[in-house]
């Protein structure tokens, strides 16, 4: 049995890394006594995969993982047991069964939405600044890469949407994953360049990931939405 779960990582645990989070889930599954499946080989581990990593310091409200179980058990039971055994700051909100041949989260999730606590040098018309930014044909910034040369990239085609939620709080929907990845801070850096420093850079903790999505023909779906799950779960 394969399950896909939606969970949130709150403020209390925003400083744990992706690897630490994976370990935390693995230990939680064991504490919950789930019939987890193990990989073969020298160093067997629980078969389990996660959606795009959250950077250290960032809260995420709609994150996902897939897990294989050796036998079929009821969702209500799994969800209840897992939530009981998760540390404070992690919570599973939804679970569905998926087909064993379902494409992985990393393969289908291509869009992320972030909430930014903005910071400005002067007073300004936030709506207007945003509109100007979104209408740019080209948004070039330098991408800094670890152990590799810096390179120029154009963010314009990868920023899908932006909104001013309220004063000083903005939201951006941007491309993520292997087919084009925008780092959330890069949007701010681009804004700073385009506004000649009116928009100031902000620490990572001022950005939250609201959700991860599958974007198809301009529409956003949750990875747990039946419309994006291509394979029906066979009745046994």
């Amino acid at each position: 049995m394969y399950i896909r779960a939606e969970y949130r990582k709150d403020d209390q645990l925003k400083y744990i890394s992706h690897l630490e989070l994976m370990n935390t889930f693995r230990r939680t599954f064991r504490r919950a006594g789930l019939p987890v499946a193990y990989s073969q080989g020298y160093n067997p581990h629980i078969i389990f995969s996660m959606s795009q990593p959250l950077p250290v310091g960032m809260v995420g409200y709609n994150e996902y993982f897939d897990l294989e179980l050796k036998e079929k058990i009821s969702f209500t039971k799994i969800k209840k047991e897992v939530n009981k055994k998760l540390p404070f700051g992690l919570k599973v909100s939804e679970m569905i069964e998926i087909h064993e041949k379902e494409k992985s989260l990393q393969a289908i999730v291509n869009t992320a939405r972030y909430r930014y606590e903005m910071s400005f040098r002067d007073e300004l018309n936030q709506q207007k600044v945003l509109e100007n930014f979104l209408s740019e044909k080209e948004i070039e910034i330098t991408r800094f890469r670890r152990n590799k040369d810096d390179r120029m990239i154009d963010l314009a085609p990868m920023i899908y949407n932006g909104r001013v939620l309220k004063d000083d709080v903005w939201e951006f929907t941007i491309s993520t994953g292997s087919s084009g990845n925008v780092r959330p801070q890069e949007v701010i850096r681009a804004l700073k360049i385009k506004t000649d420093g009116l928009v100031k850079e902000i620490p990572l903790v001022n950005i939250e990931r609201l959700g991860l999505y599958v974007r198809e023909e301009g529409k956003l779906y949750k990875p747990t939405n039946k419309d994006v799950l291509k394979k029906e779960v066979r009745e046994k």
């Binding site: 645990l13 599954f29 620490p203 001022n206």
Partner: protein, 626 residues
């Protein structure tokens, strides 16, 4: 006040912020009530080191079991957090409630090794506390300590109000309760300390006067008041099987040093290695029964979700029920892919057989510790291992498919000559040769043979038969290391050693006296932190600190006279006063002393003096005894 909340979002700027967030699964966070007594356990090293320490876990859970107590944790802040707190003008905070140290009644340090001493000062300073016990006020929390180095804690003794000598399980709750009632009755700190000093194992440094002669040698350590005991006797638990052991371990997020579930299969070791401090300070051997261990392991695995269980003790393979225990564990947990690790292997075939049994799930490296290169020198240190033991063990290991083995040796040992180092080199080369032979005949594919040789510097420790021996001269030490390095510079051999100056400093403090507290403060003020972490260690800074205080490192490294009053004379390990001397003389004659577990009593008298007995559980042993 929650201090952490004030800088929570700034933690993004420092390294490993998860060290400071607490909130681990199984963390105990109690509501603060005014009538409860609040204890903050402090481990003077980084989170990932402190959280790997079993003693801290025992104390944490033991105290929190009491309804009228709250026990929280603090570790040494990494220099970047120290800097951040200073900038923000905030004190150090506990992991559970984020409260500052001054909100607690007791600050309780776990003392594990000399090279963490400056971190004690960081914690005190960042808590707004004065370093010296005598300078702190009635309102300050009581600063106490305990742990494996209480055989000589004199260099830090003046910082503590109270220290506990030995195993605290049976006494810590009483001490805390007694402190609370004396404090509530309105007694002054000095009177409280005199009262507490009457509890067995409690050592109040300020109640003892230390006198020195003009050469700087100690002439006497005497109680200041009639009602203060002359010697502080080490305390221990008589029945490990019945002793408290936590089953709901904290599960850290960070990849800590020992990130696994742990059970303590036995305590104490009577093998009698003469360089080993733990061999004396944890005597005698007390075992936990297989039934108790199986039961504890089951509960710990369920409550933590760990997939690895470590069977720890000073010599796990010597547990009389180890074979049965390992067999039962592997059968029970194979399906759940739980791997088992043995904390210390004996140098023999039996150990390899056991290692093979436990490593069905995950295979890790094998480590053997022959310690010295010739039979003569091994007799001097009473390490009862023969060359053929080692060759049989490694042959078995290579044949079972291990391609890497680690060998531990010590250098700078008493009476050591060039011949001993040549013997070491020969042993390593023979091991490599055997490995290569087996690999070439092995039908299965094997990775190239690797021998990791780890050489540590012998440091004479208090309360061991070598406590009078001088520390090896640094020039000689460097020469020895160079000799080994050039001779072991061979494909397939990886040679590592301790930083020489760091060993020297450890040696100074391990046999140091109270005057060294001034050196610690000077070095701390000059910036010494986390000295055990090579990357921070600055020997020049330390030498300067000695000069500033008119103290000579060589005074502490020298040979001690057999009749000299040693700085730890008032701490009673429970030994027959002549035992260490006899062992020392036997060592110089390369005469060995056998393990009293499997032979008659060797006269250390600890069982008699401390009113305990060897507590061995296995059948074979009982047959032998009868």
């Amino acid at each position: 006040m929650n201090v952490r909340d004030k800088i929570y979002d700034k933690l993004i700027e420092i390294s490993n912020p998860e060290r400071y967030i607490g909130n681990e699964y199984n963390m105990i966070k109690k509501e603060w009530q005014p009538d409860q007594i609040k204890i903050l356990t402090a481990f003077p090293d980084a989170y990932e080191i402190g959280m790997s320490h079993l003693g801290l876990k025992i104390i944490y859970h033991l105290l929190n079991k009491e309804d009228n107590m709250i026990c929280e944790r603090v570790f040494s802040p990494w220099p970047d957090l120290e800097e951040l707190l200073k900038e923000e003008n905030l004190p150090l905070f506990s992991l559970e409630s984020g409260k500052s140290v001054d909100e607690f009644d007791i600050l309780a340090f776990t003392l594990q090794y000399e090279m963490s001493y400056t971190n004690i000062l960081t914690i005190l300073k960042m808590s707004g506390l004065k370093f010296y016990s005598k300078d702190r006020t009635e309102e300050d929390p009581l600063v106490i300590g305990g742990g494996s180095i209480v055989s000589n804690v004199e260099p830090v003794a003046p910082f503590f109000d109270l220290l506990f000598v030995g195993e605290a399980e049976d006494h810590i709750v009483d001490i805390v309760n007694k402190y609370k009632s004396l404090k509530e009755a309105g007694h002054k700190k000095k009177d409280i300390l005199i009262e507490l000093s009457k509890i067995p194992g409690v050592y109040v440094p300020s109640l003892y006067r230390v006198d020195y002669n003009e050469d700087g040698e100690i002439t006497g350590i005497t109680p200041k008041y009639d009602e203060v005991k002359e010697k502080v006797k080490r305390q221990l638990i008589s029945n490990l099987d019945q002793a408290f052991f936590p089953e709901d371990f904290l599960v850290p997020y960070m990849d800590i040093v020992h990130d696994r579930a742990t059970v303590e299969v036995s305590r104490g070791c009577t093998k009698g290695c003469r360089f080993c401090s733990a061999g004396i300070t944890y005597r005698p051997v007390r075992e936990r029964s297989k039934e108790t261990l199986m039961n504890q392991i089951d509960k710990i695995l369920k409550s933590t979700g760990y997939d690895e269980i470590s069977l720890t003790s000073l010599s796990t393979v010597d547990h009389t029920q180890i074979e049965g225990l390992v067999k039962e564990l592997t059968q029970k947990y194979e399906d759940e892919k739980i791997s088992i690790s043995l904390s210390s292997l004996r140098v023999d075939k039996f150990s390899v057989k056991l290692a093979k049994e436990v490593q069905k799930v995950r295979k890790t490296g094998l480590t053997f510790a022959p310690e010295a290169g010739t039979k003569r020198l091994r007799n001097v240190i009473n390490k009862g291992v023969s060359e053929s033991n080692l060759y049989e063990a490694v042959e078995a290991a290579f044949s079972e498919g291990w391609s890497t083995v680690k060998l531990y040796f010590m250098i700078g040992l008493p009476t050591e000559t060039k011949e001993d180092l040549e013997g070491l080199i020969k042993m390593v080369k023979n091991v490599l040769k055997k490995g290569k032979e087996i690999r070439s005949h092995n039908k299965k594919k094997m990775r190239p043979i690797r021998i990791n040789v780890s050489v540590s510097t012998f440091i004479p420790k208090a309360a061991t038969p070598f406590q009078w021996e001088p520390m090896v001269d640094i020039a000689e030490l460097k020469e020895k290391i160079n000799f080994l390095r050039s001779n072991l510079n061979k494909k397939g051999i990886n040679f590592s050693w301790n930083e020489e100056e760091l060993s020297l400093l450890e040696s100074i403090f391990s046999r140091g006296d109270r005057r060294l507290s001034k050196v610690l403060i000077s070095a701390w003020q000059k910036g010494a932190r986390f000295d055990g972490w090579g990357d921070f260690f600055d020997y020049e800074l330390w030498l300067e600190s000695f000069r500033d205080n008119n103290l000579d490192p060589d005074f502490y490294l020298r040979r001690r006279g057999l009749d000299e009053t040693l700085p730890w004379e008032h701490i009673d390990m429970g030994l027959n006063p002549n035992f260490l001397k006899n062992e020392y003389h036997k060592a110089l004659e390369s005469e060995t002393t056998s393990d009293c577990r499997f032979d008659n009593c060797k006269g250390c008298n600890i069982c008699l003096n401390l009113d305990v007995d060897l507590d061995i559980i296995g059948d074979d042993y009982n047959v032998y005894k009868s």
